[in-house]
């Protein structure tokens, strides 16, 4: 199918393109930019006047809830949500049920996703069997089945010896390890940041040191093993400072932040609003400011949605009993745009953090629009605002702290491999 996308503001952060130009798509790939290829005859023309035409978004963490949690969401609904949010590639964490620790499960997931013909799914494999932190998984087999990296999701990894071995093993074969820095013991049972809000509300707390201690351990082990490690979901100002120092030292470490943490802090919990129960917890205003600045100056490489659909039963209960998590695929773009406006970051640089940068971490040639590239495109209206309401969300998870709030950025068209998979 030949598609011509005209009059749009074409932004390709990786190649430094930011101008009005026409994008030509044919046979699933980018055929040309600016001038039509010889003998061009479009089957479909999209008028993108007033819209931004950019690479499809790449989300490094989206829980699809399959296998095992189908009552919360299914691949069908969440893939709909992804493309409605302009996300054309996503990585899903291994904490499914059963966890992604066997090649068969990974293959099944990839197969299911492929058959839906929506976004590309890149499973992240479990670092240890069952995510129990006792024995290594067969990383080679998992990599062959399609795992792009290995992580421990949100499960504690108390055994530092095992962590060390896992990192050595991964380094041997060049596998990437993604870790969320959280000490296994400090702050166990905590549901909110250890600060004034948790003290006032009487909520069990997670101190910032739970993150910084784990971060110190991982950085030290990364230095020793030389493994490529990506730190997931930074939440503290001190953590950002540690990453800055580690990068300055020349260590091959990268990190990300969840979109929610760029905007919310513990005060937003208000009177026990379980929508704000997240992992890692929303921290203080100083932490939020450091995360925003860190993403702007490149200390933090990218932002992800950390999409975690939670049903109403998981939220309509007292805070300490509620399930942490929020729906996020459809909010990745709006929340990134909002962050960029606040930090005065130009649109191309902002988009880089949800396209080219995540692609680099995944080790994929994606997140850009060079000629010959698979045509994964996101066409959106940066000026359109919409109110976050359950009806407006395609995900089965309708729970988000942003319910009732207005956000900027409406996706109009999403193309995956040259096919229009979403139109609004």
């Amino acid at each position: 199918m030949k598609i011509e996308i005209r009059n749009g503001r074409l932004i390709d952060p990786k190649h430094g393109i930011d101008r009005t130009a026409t994008l030509f798509v044919a046979a699933g790939k980018v055929a040309a930019i600016g001038e039509a290829p010889a003998g061009w005859n479009a089957n479909r023309t999209i008028d993108a006047a007033g819209l931004v035409v950019g690479p499809g978004l790449i989300d490094l963490s989206a829980r699809l809830r399959e296998p095992g949690f189908e009552y919360k969401a299914t691949l069908e609904s969440e893939m709909e949500a992804a493309v409605a949010g302009g996300v054309t590639s996503l990585a899903c964490p291994p904490d499914t049920d059963p966890p992604l620790d066997e090649p068969g499960l990974v293959e099944m997931l990839k197969h299911r996703a492929r058959s839906l013909n929506k976004a590309h799914v890149y499973p992240v494999g479990a670092l240890s069997m069952g995510l129990r932190g006792e024995a290594l998984t067969e990383m080679g087999e998992l990599a062959e089945a399609g795992c792009v990296a290995f992580s421990h999701a949100d499960q504690p990894l108390a055994d530092t010896q095992l962590l060390y071995r896992a990192m050595q093993y991964a380094a041997t074969f060049g596998y990437r390890v993604w870790l969320r820095p959280q000490d296994a013991h400090i702050g166990k049972g905590g549901v909110a940041h250890d600060g004034e809000v948790a003290t006032r509300l009487g909520l069990p707390a997670v101190p910032a040191s739970a993150e910084t201690i784990a971060l110190a351990t991982i950085i030290a082990l990364a230095r020793e093993t030389g493994v490529r490690v990506h730190l997931c979901r930074l939440s503290t100002a001190d953590g950002v400072a540690m990453m800055r120092a580690a990068k300055k030292d020349g260590l091959a470490v990268t990190c990300d932040v969840a979109a929610h943490h760029l905007h919310l802090c513990d005060v937003d919990i208000g009177w026990f609003n379980a929508q704000c129960h997240l992992v890692p917890p929303l921290r203080g205003t100083r932490d939020r400011a450091a995360l925003c600045a860190g993403l702007a100056d490149g200390t933090i490489d990218l932002v992800c949605s950390d999409h975690t659909p939670v049903d109403d039963d998981g939220k309509q209960v007292p805070f300490g009993e509620s399930e942490p998590g929020a729906t996020g695929l459809e909010l990745l773009l709006p929340l990134t745009l909002k962050w960029a406006a606040g930090e005065k970051v130009a649109l191309p640089a902002a988009l880089a953090r949800i396209t080219a940068q995540p692609a680099a971490i995944l080790g994929l040639d994606a997140g850009h629009l060079a000629v010959g590239q698979a045509a994964d495109v996101c066409i959106f209206d940066p000026a359109a605002h919409w109110v976050v309401e359950p009806q407006a969300l395609r995900s089965q998870g309708k729970n988000t702290p942003f319910l009732g709030l207005e956000v900027p950025g409406r996706v109009r068209y999403t193309l995956v491999s040259g096919q229009i998979v979403f139109e609004h």
Binding site: D194, G195, E196, A198, T199, R200, L201, G202, L203, P204, A205, P207, G270, W271, F272, D313, Q316, V317, P318, F319, G320, E321
Partner: protein, 319 residues
Amino acid sequence: MRNPQLNADGGLTHLLTLEGLPADVIRQILDTAIPFTSIAMRDVKKVPLLRGKAVFNLFFENSTRTRTTFEIAAKRLSADVINLNIGASSTSKGETLLDTVDNLVAMNADMFVVRHAQSGAPHLIAAHLNRTGRNHVHVVNAGDGRHAHPTQGLLDLFTIRHYKRDFRNLTVAIVGDVLHSRVARSLIHGLTTVGTPEVRAIGPQTLLPTALQALGVRVFNDMREGLKGCDVIVMLRLQSERMRGALLPSAGEFFKHYGLTPDKLAMAKPDAIVMHPGPMNRGVEIDSAVADGERSVILPQVTFGIAVRMAVLSIVAGN
């Protein structure tokens, strides 16, 4: 964000926490408790204020003391009282907390007195009732997790005012496990709201929450230092679980540093009063000589508790 405890006219319609309550709402409750103390001394201890109203004691955490006091208070207001002991887990029957509440409202409940192990449970119920337009049903928090025990805070304030008259001259010390104590949090909010110039917390670092200063409290780890010049000393109960969680090595060590003995009491003002929300662990947080001594007002606290709860139930029911 409007205070979920107040209705559109600023009247108290739920009592969830003392935090953020206007000072004159607190004073009104304390003032209204005074005539109720007299009622307790008559032969006929009842007044007809809540006749025909159904008060449900929803206790998800066991507590005979608090439940009994609320029951007495409600019955003295001529209300019908129904006790529901749902035990440790609200979902033990598979029914969620809000489902339970909806069912009881359908059975014409007018008021819920709620005790729950989770901080925020009464807020959840009140928000649910407000959101579903059931403004005539009221929630009174009888203790939620570590968060709040507002009626205890109020009866502590009533006791202090009874013996000391004016909060604005007082130094009050709260001693013990503040970290896990909803009683301490409520008392701190109450004292700061009514203008107490100095509120102190005394305990080991393991038992004091991180951001206590932000609540307007002066922190002491040394009890003798902390008691100097105090007018009121409130001793908190130390639960045995604290020893298991590596927060404290032993009860004996705690008593040595933080138990209220006559010689430590001597550091406070000569007319200082000693309070304890109960039940007491003699020899752990308080020496019997002090508990039974002339500065102790621990027993009067209990009597005042019924009058204060009658005041709370009446005010909330009338809004």
